[in-house]
Amino acid sequence: MEIITALIVLAIIALVCAIILTVAATFFAVKENEKVVAVRDCLPGANCGACGYSGCDGYAKALGEGECDNPSLCIPGGDGVAKEIGEIMGLTAGDVVEKVAYVACNGSCQPDNRKFVYDGIKSCVAANLNYSGDSMCTYACLGYGDCIAVCPRDAITINPEKCIAEIDPKKCIGCGLCAKTCPNHIIHLVNDTSRVIVKCSSHDKGAVTRKACSNGCIGCMKCQKTCPEGAIKVENNLAVIDYDKCTGCGACHEVCPVKCIHLENLICGAHFE
């Protein structure tokens, strides 16, 4: 007899719960915007924030609700995603310029040539608080890997010989999180069509740079004089490339006496997916 009472009581409680849940689910149902869901599905889901919104959900919501009418903001997704979003939203997708990050440091001042022995927390931000870090050059990559910690695609490694961060362009999705994190601001984003990069960030005068590092830009202006397009200029003792004019001919790379101008193939990971 007792077991029947138990069964009945339990069944009634379960039934009441079920009824309440069913009623709640029908009456309080939230109509989700179909377009938002569709757009969210074709975004890559890296939540990197390169589009300027708070993650992929934020961008999908902005697009779906008409706050934003540019489907080409997703840099990791590239042209493919922009086209898909364009089809869903009925917008014309512009050409997405894939970006790639690079570390503007040659790292020849590392690792035997340090100002002092840094024994604190293994983090670039912390190291940078002590006299701009332990490396001889104040503009150098400190090599404690703050950028590695934020990279969503594990594209960054520390080169053990040079003790500087290196970014694998095949894995890089161009989100720019590393560039925002680097306390020395030596990680830059360039279009992945660029071929020439200056791997130095030192604004010190030539002699000072030379003391710390054998591969640093000494501001000799040779590249500026050689460039047939006038695309490279030395500003504040550092060669800066104007990528609108640069054709990637490599003339500057040839003449650079310290070899801090590199020719590299920066075709980024988005093109391989």
Partner: protein
């Protein structure tokens, strides 16, 4: 009366902390305590669910189970009711308070059958100081605050650990467990303090 309520809350937070002394709710305690904002979100969600769970399970115990002499069904009924309740709360929050849903939403499914939530719902029926519905609610609130407190405290401890070099053999979870046991030991210092402080013994 007020003194009694303060006593119940203080006991829940310090002397009878559910995470650190009862070792319930360890899963979220270790899983979501990496960052302080996530830890506080989880703590708030647990406090909220504990309150709602007690509000429903206490009357069910008193007016349904005890009336039919079915106290032995306590565990299964409480799990059933709490799980349904959390689902209900999730639906209602999503509809009416989307902002709160966004901040608590990801944690709610995690705690539907959390043992700290079930634990307080059952323990409330056996505590000496829980005499009626009101004190049961206050007791749940105190225990929830204790959970929140332990989560936030431990999030701070963990962020310190991450920046310290620890021996390779204990890196990761082992050193976290060691730290948790030390924090837990520290909390045993509170045993008896609350009673003496308020002259309740």
């Amino acid at each position: 009366m007020l003194k009694e309520l303060i006593y119940i809350i203080l006991v829940g937070v310090f002397a009878n902390n559910y995470v650190l002394q009862q070792t319930t709710g360890i899963c979220p305690f270790l899983g979501v305590s990496k960052k302080i904002d996530q830890a506080s979100g989880m703590g708030l969600a647990v406090t909220f669910v504990m309150l709602v769970a007690t509000a429903v399970t206490y009357p069910i115990q008193k007016y349904v189970l005890e009336a039919f002499n079915l106290e032995y069904l306590q565990t299964i009924v409480f799990i059933l009711v709490i799980a349904a309740l959390v689902q209900f709360v999730e639906i209602v929050l999503k509809k009416f308070i989307p902002a709160l849903y966004k901040s608590l939403g990801v944690y709610l499914p995690l705690i539907t059958t959390n043992c700290a939530v079930l634990g307080i719902a059952i323990d409330n029926l056996s505590f000496d100081y829980v005499t009626n519905f009101g004190t049961a609610m206050v007791s749940s609130f105190g225990v929830g605050l204790g959970f929140l407190f332990a989560m936030m405290l431990f999030a701070g401890v963990r962020s310190r650990i991450e920046n310290c070099p620890s021996p390779k053999s204990v890196q990761g979870l082992p050193v976290t467990l060691i730290a948790a046991s030390i924090v837990s030991l520290a909390f045993y210092g509170f045993a008896g303090v609350i009673d003496g402080l308020l002259g309740m013994n």
